[in-house]
Structure formats: C-alpha cells, structure tokens
C-alpha cells in the first residue's frame, strides 16, 4: 500500500513538473515607453565683443557692428505653436541699440528684432511657429549700434536669454 501511494505521488509530481516546464518555454513582459513634452535649446557659445569704433561726420548714428559667429539648436515635440523669445537681463541705456536675428528652417524668423528694451520676463518673439522636430546650427546675428549723443560706453556685459516655449 505504502509503495503504491509513493509511486502515484512520484508520477503525479513528474507530470506536473514536466507540464510546468513546458508552460514556461515563453515569457512575457510589459514595456511602457512614454515620451514627455520636450523643449530643448542650446547655443554654440558666446559671440565676440561688439565694439563701435567708427562713425560718419555729421551723423549722430555711429557705424553699427555685427557678429554672426554663433548658432543655436533646438528640439521640441510639443507642436507647431512653439516660439523662441529673447530678452536681456536688463534694458540697455538710451542711445544704444542691440538687435538680434535668428535664422530658422522649422519656424518663421521675425527678422532683425530690437531687444534693447527687453528684460527678464519681457522677452520679444524672434522665431514663431516652430514645427515639431529639431533645427540645428542656425545662425544668430547680433547688431550693436549707438548714437554719438549717447556718449561712449565702457565695456559692458549683457546676458541674452533665448527661451524656447509655447
């Protein structure tokens, strides 16, 4: 009797184990991949010094100087309404003008925009209607001009913030 029970138990265990082993010849896993809204903007560095040194006799507006040595790149997946705004850390003194022009192939450039009177929290749009995706190595052109009536300006640093936003 003892022998019979033992044998049946072993047989049952054997069948169960073999079935169990076959049942695990495949395995499943759930992988969820989610993509958040992404905004990313970067510049290639700082432009060179913008120094006004010449003017025309009889004209208050001195000869402006430009720098187009830097670029910006963006990536965004929000939608077609994204824009880039620009602002200074503080407004420029009267008589000095700083203009900015951002090239764009994913959006519409506003052309040359005066950012002299912008400050933190009061940026102006420089590129609008940016489509989803990436735009790399687009030129940034700064133009600095001054009036003779504004006098000289000793070397001053200004921070320009470019913001990619909706």
């Amino acid at each position: 009797m003892k022998k019979s029970i033992f044998g049946i138990t072993l047989l049952a265990a054997c069948v169960l184990m073999i079935n169990g082993a076959y049942a695990q010849a495949s395995a499943n896993q759930t992988v969820n991949l989610s993509v958040n809204t992404v905004y990313k903007i970067a510049t290639s560095g700082n432009p060179g010094a913008l120094t006004v040194t010449t003017g025309t006799a009889g004209t208050d507006a001195l000869t402006s100087v430009s720098d187009a040595s830097t670029t910006y790149s963006i990536t965004q997946n929000f939608g077609p309404t994204v824009k880039i705004t620009a602002n200074l850390d503080a407004v420029l003194q009267s008589g000095y003008t700083l203009q900015l022009n951002l090239a764009s192939s994913k959006g519409t450039s506003a052309g040359t925009v005066d950012i002299s009177n912008t400050s933190t929290g009061s940026g102006v749009s420089v590129v609008t209607g940016i489509g989803m995706g990436a735009d790399a190595g687009k030129s940034i052109t700064y133009t600095f001009s001054a009036l003779a009536s504004a006098g000289t300006l000793t070397s001053t640093t200004k921070t320009v913030t470019l913001t990619l936003t909706n």
Binding site: G48, L92, A146, A148, G151, T152
Partner: protein, 168 residues
C-alpha cells in the same frame, strides 16, 4: 446651502484648482539658453569738409574808400560727429607768412556747439572755431573772407586750412 449646491460648488472649485495647476504646468514647459555679450563704444571724433578748393579773388574796389573790396565764399560745409565730452573744432593754416587777411566765419551751426564769431587765420596756433561740442553731430557753413589793403599790393597766396576736433 443645499447639499446639491454644495456639491456643485465643490466640483467647480476642484475644476478651477485643476485648471490653475494645468496652466502653471504648461507655463513650465520651456527651455532656455543664454549668451554673454560684451558691448562697448569707443570715443570717436569724425570731421569732414564738403566743398572743393576755394578760389577767392579780390578784384573790385570800393568807390567810397578806394580800398579793394573783400572777396567772400560760403560754399563749404563742415560736418562733425563726436561722442566725446567737451570737444572743440579748431582751424589753422599752413601759411605762416600770409600778406593778405583770411577770415573764417562758421555760420548756421546746427544742433550743438557754439561758434566763435570770426576767426582770423594768421599762421599762429590753431584758432577755436566751434566750442562746446559734446556727444553730438553737427554741421555749419564755412564762410571765407579774404581782404587786402592797397598797400599790400597784388599777389597770390595759398592756404591749406585744417579743421581739427580736439579737447575742449
């Protein structure tokens, strides 16, 4: 307030709260990059003279004084720009031994600067023509007046007249 009304108010408050939260979340969706710019404007002084060579001929005589009448020319225009402080424009000639008198008057001085009424070029040091030029651009008409006495006879003199912006 009735329970139904209270419930509606609660829901409305919740919706407003959610709306506020969503708005702030949306505003947070941005990325920024900064650039440092170095701006400066050097002092510059530019001066220019419009009008070619001036030819002053004394060839008429006053019937009352029997002296030669002065010859005048107001066909030159002086222009300047300076972003410096308290500059002046001087005028000088290279002819240090002129026999005939040559005077200059700055007329119609625009915007800024005060003009000396009349400057006699006699070969000495540069003479002030326009003073108090500060952070400005301007222009004026240059009037040359050449005069000679009978006793000075006849002849021809050349002047290289130089206008200079200099410290006031």
């Amino acid at each position: 307030m009735k329970p139904k009304t209270q419930n509606m108010a609660r829901n409305l408050a919740g919706s407003i709260l959610l709306l506020v939260n969503l708005t702030s979340f949306s505003n947070a969706q941005m990325s920024s990059a900064t650039q440092i710019l170095t701006l400066s404007v050097k002092e510059l002084n530019a001066i220019d003279l419009v009008g070619g060579e001036i030819d002053l001929q004394i060839n008429r005589v006053s019937e009352t004084t029997n002296q030669p009448l002065p010859a005048e020319n107001a066909g030159s225009r002086l222009l300047w720009t300076s972003n410096g402080e308290n500059r002046k424009i001087t005028v000088a000639t290279n002819n240090t031994a002129a026999r005939f008198s040559l005077r200059i008057i700055a007329k119609n001085v625009s915007t800024s600067g005060s003009s000396a009424t009349e400057v006699i070029l006699n070969g000495d040091a540069p003479k002030d023509l326009i003073r108090s030029v500060s952070r400005s651009s301007g222009s004026c008409t240059i009037k040359y007046i050449a005069a000679a006495d009978v006793s000075e006879g006849t002849g021809t003199e050349h002047h290289l007249v130089t206008y200079t912006i200099t410290g006031g």
